[in-house]
């Protein structure tokens, strides 16, 4: 956790120079690709377990 925080602070303090023709959507697309990759590799493989957990949560909420 400390390491994660340290890396976050390091990234915040590093300001890259602004360049022309930067793509405002690239960061969001990259993040979507990372999450999609994770969902496709991990969550899809264990979807029955994930579904079971969410279903149980949902049923508990309904009760």
């Amino acid at each position: 956790m400390t390491l994660v925080l340290f890396l976050c602070l390091l990234l915040i303090s590093t300001v890259a120079p602004a360049e022309a023709y930067t793509d405002p959507g690239s960061g969001l697309l990259l993040w979507q690709l990372i999450v999609s990759g994770f969902v496709g590799c991990v969550a899809f493989r264990y979807r029955k377990i994930v579904h079971f957990i969410f279903k149980r949560d949902h049923e508990q909420k309904e009760k």
Binding site: P24, G25, G27, L29, W31, Q32, L33, V35, G40, A43
Partner: protein
Amino acid sequence: MIGSTRSFRDPAGRLIVVDGRVLRLVAKPAIDSLFALLRSQTAQQFTERGSLIQTRVAEEVDGKSLCCQMPDDFRFDNSGPGIVVEHSRVDFPSFAHEWPPEMLHAAAQLTLELAAAFLDEGVGLKDADPRNILFRGPRPVFVDILSFEKRDPNDPVWRPYAQFVRNFLLPLLVNKHFSIPLSQLYLTGHDGLRPQDVYPLLGLASKLLPPFFTLVTLPVWLSRTVGKRNVAMYQKKRQSDAEKTKFILRSLFHRLARLTDKITPGQGESDWSSYMSSNGYSSEEFSAKKSFVETALAEARPKRILDVGCNIGYFSLAAARQGARVVAIDSDPAVVGETWRQALKEDLDVLPLVVNIASPTPGVGWRNRESTSFLERSFGAFDAVMMLAVVHHILVTGQIPLYEMAGLASELTNDLLLIEFVSPKDPLFRSITLGRDYLYDGLAAETFETAFRDRFDIVRTLTLCNGNRSLYVMRKKLH
């Protein structure tokens, strides 16, 4: 086919209005996707509940067959003739820069709901833009049917994700956390807010905590690492398993829907949200005012009403209960949001918009004509205009003279004007003059009547609050 062009950015088609008919010219390459959409059961369900615009293939326009009537500049690389479809008309178009956050939120929810619902139909949304949506009364309706296209069943990337974040989530978040009005965010740019625009506004804690961490901080960091890999990044990354693709997209829409729910605009407080309990009227006097307005509306039976300075929509909702379609405007987003909530709850035909009549919404977009100005949409559109307890604000705060107000009122209404004059002796008038009472020394009900008599006949009046407030039913003179 001569009509005013309303939408042309998408090469798949163009929207034009001919004699009040809303027609969409559809290019040949987009026809298959359009029919796949229109024939789907999901589209029929959304159309029946009023969330998707009604669409039918038009046979002829101006009494002539549509063959060869396409405008000369509507060409698609020799792709062949397109078709023309006709949409049911949305009475009064409105745009994101006029919506309170509640309406933008409803538009975001509808966009996600449609994207998720059409997954099984093999159809996807190719953009996520608030301009795809208009409002009928308080309910959003998705109008840009060419935003739907056949989906590649193996492509797990929702291309409009970044656009959805920029145009819906970030404006809603910034509005909620920093109280920046949506009009300021939308009027200046065409594509919402970029993560880079929001990043400098955030403190250290906000940068590292959800929802800003994944919507702003991480994308900003990641965009710095992309560099020249941009082009390759946009190449399709196909999955071999179509089920897996659907699972990934469904999970994305689910996450976005949960996030959208979390940023539901709260019931806003503002200087004006408690106005109904501090409006200067005793309960008996307010009942008399209400009865005066309702009687005037019941006699004239206007079908389309503009309520200027609607506050929390008390009289707009009352007019809608009598069967009128109402556009209710106020400069304060908090009270407009409250009007929207109430109209939705009672299912009344009231379209509440954040518009300051002293400085109405300008035309926006290409040649300032893509989203037309509020006045351009309003002239000739209303049988009645209500200006109740608002004239003194336009006069004092807006510094608009009475004869100018009378001129605008006569252009806005085709017939009826319900207007209230608040005298400079009234405590609420004095509370907004900021000590400059001397400017209004000569102002009295007679002066007010003189300013309006050139353009209106005064039918009836009611004086209340010890003579400090006068209500008028006026009818526009036919010149």
